[in-house]
């Protein structure tokens, strides 16, 4: 399972910059970042190269952060590639709470991050359909 960092942020200008600076100063590299916001606050989701250390660095820096387990899928780079993945999850009755995408700098495949209610079952459902589930080691140092 992929360890994603989720950070609670008040809607205050400069707060996201502070967050990224804290990680940058600690030498932590971000692979992907997604901001979900409501009228009152935001939740920032991050994939970074050392998630456990990133969590400690953020907590020490005064941020409310926690680790969330998500799954990462290498989505085939062709029309309908993402649809195949989502249909597989859908037929298993697995609900996708949110998803976001980033492109690996080394390869040509897009990596999609999914937050589903039952990641273990989702993983095996995708594997039986021949869809490549990305292991943590491929994205970051499992620290």
């Amino acid at each position: 399972m992929i360890e994603q960092i989720s950070v609670f942020l008040e809607n205050k200008s400069g707060r996201l910059a502070e967050l990224t600076r804290v990680l940058g100063d600690a030498g932590i590299n971000m692979r992907a970042l997604m901001v979900a916001d409501t009228a009152e606050f935001g939740v920032v989701r991050l994939i970074c190269d050392e998630p456990r250390r990133a969590l400690r660095v953020l907590e020490d820096g005064g941020f409310g952060a926690s680790i969330t387990e998500v799954i990462a899928v290498a989505v085939p780079d062709r029309p309908g590639g993402l649809a195949d993945v989502l249909e597989t999850l859908g037929t298993q009755g697995l609900n996708v709470e949110y998803a976001y995408c980033f492109v690996e700098s080394t390869g040509d495949a897009a990596v999609d991050i999914f937050r589903v209610d039952d990641p273990t079952r989702a993983k095996s459902a995708l594997a039986t359909q021949g869809i490549v589930v990305v292991e943590p080691g491929a994205l970051y140092v499992a620290d």
Binding site: S6, F8, E10, T38, V43, G62, G64, S66, T68
Partner: protein, 434 residues
């Protein structure tokens, strides 16, 4: 019990003692304190007319403004050569007032605070860390003399320098902590941040006061620190800490009635109310020499808890102070005490008991924002859960206070921690409309 002869005195004997001491005190202030003499004369009252405890109801009240008008020494009933200590009020509600103590006052104060510490289970074997501020504020030195009177090893660390407080607590084997409840909570949080589990320390009891706190906050402090937490009460105009304290039953604070007469009055009619009914707390000191106060209106809201206590003390109990008439916020015509908000928050999992109330004007209407910290262990990924939490806090506060408010969730530990009295209210209503 530190002084069972007094603390468990039969009520009939106590009332005889009270009347005798009251008469002495009235004579003393009438002879020595010009403002009292003038006030009594205006009311057509001579001390000799007070023949029973019930007659006290005919004596004029004293209010904080009387003490302010007499600043600094005008209400002292002893010459300065007999005064050995001067303190002043913490100025929580404006201009400070000055109080003086004779040698005898300091001596009695030590006894009263020793009673307080003993009711938390402290003995000469204990090590007491006093994290109340020392100085003009009565908290630090007040507890200090009681702790020494009890024979406990007394650590006069005062407030502030929180990490050092934790180190001392751990290294010195502290068993009893005296602090404001909000500072005690901050000590617990800081200890955990330093990798020290306060529950594994020898600490066993805490005496907490100087600001209103709730029953839920007690539960939190007891769990976080692994202690018995008792509420203590006092105010500098009456003495300082040592006026009243909870016993191990934790059901109301026994008033040291051999030194203070407590009355509860209706703040509107100024008439005493029967035991059990809420009202403003009024104290008369009956042993103080430096600056006795007669029917001093504290502005604190409480009631007498009727009936005897199972601990054996015969002193009546006052309910923990839930608010002050002058802390009371009037929001769209509704009376609100900040402690009511705290009571709600400590009952909701996922939020920390740190909060700030921000009052603004929107047009001609009062607008209330309550800033609430999300607890550090929240699953921050769940927006739905955060929104649910926000709605729940809003609904529960609205239902407890009967006003609608706007809840703003703020980041963990972002509300400023206080080392003394917590500043819970930011009133911006006079600073223009939004």
């Amino acid at each position: 019990m530190f002084q069972p002869d007094f603390e468990a005195m039969p009520r009939t004997d106590l009332e005889v003692l009270q009347l005798e001491r009251l008469n002495k005190t009235l004579d003393r202030v009438y002879e020595r304190v010009a403002p009292y003499r003038a006030k009594f004369d205006d009311a057509g009252l001579h001390p000799s007319m007070v023949r029973s405890l019930g007659d006290l109801a005919n004596v004029p009240f004293t209010v904080k403004d009387d003490l302010r008008a007499a600043y600094p020494y005008g209400m002292f009933a002893a010459p300065m050569r007999d005064i050995v200590r001067v303190h002043s009020s913490s100025g929580t509600t404006g201009q400070v007032t000055v109080v003086g103590y004779t040698k005898g006052d300091i001596d009695r104060w030590g006894d009263l605070m020793a009673r307080t510490l003993a009711s938390a289970g402290a003995t000469a074997d204990d090590i007491v860390q006093i994290s109340y501020g020392y100085g003009l504020f009565t908290g630090g030195l007040g507890v200090h003399y009681g702790s020494e009177r009890l024979g406990s090893a007394t650590i006069p660390i005062s407030g502030g320098n929180t990490k050092r407080q934790i180190q001392v607590m751990k290294d010195f084997g502290v068993t009893v902590l005296a602090a404001t409840p909000s500072y005690a909570l901050m000590l617990a949080e800081t200890a955990l941040e330093m990798g020290i589990d306060p529950r594994k320390l020898p600490l066993k009891a805490g005496v907490f006061g100087a600001e209103p706190w709730s029953e839920n906050m007690r539960t939190q402090l007891e769990e976080a620190l692994g202690i018995l937490a008792i509420d203590i009460y006092g105010l500098s105009e009456v003495l300082g800490p040592g006026v009243a304290a909870e016993c191990e039953c934790k059901n109301g604070l026994h008033v040291n009635e051999d030194h203070f007469i407590i009355e509860i009055i209706d703040p509107a009619t100024l008439q005493p109310v029967p035991d059990g009914e809420m009202g403003e707390v009024v104290f008369t000191t009956i042993t103080k020499e430096g600056i006795p106060v007669i029917r001093y209106r504290t502005r604190d809201i409480s009631r007498i808890i009727p009936g005897p206590c199972s601990c054996g003390r015969t002193f009546r109990r006052m309910q923990r102070v839930g608010g002050r008439t002058d802390d009371m916020l009037i929001i769209r015509g509704v009376n609100v005490f900040p402690s009511q908000i705290e009571q709600v928050l400590t009952g909701i999992p996922g939020v920390a008991p740190h909060y700030q109330v921000v009052l603004k004007k929107r047009g001609s209407l009062d607008h209330v924002e309550v800033h609430v910290e999300v607890g550090p262990d929240f699953a921050f990924d769940e927006i739905k859960a955060l929104e649910h939490l926000q709605r729940r806090v809003g609904a529960e506060i609205a239902s407890a206070l009967a006003i609608s408010i706007e809840v703003k969730l703020v980041e963990p530990k972002s509300i400023q921690r206080s080392e003394g009295k917590a500043k819970r209210v930011l009133d911006l209503r006079n600073e223009g409309s939004e």
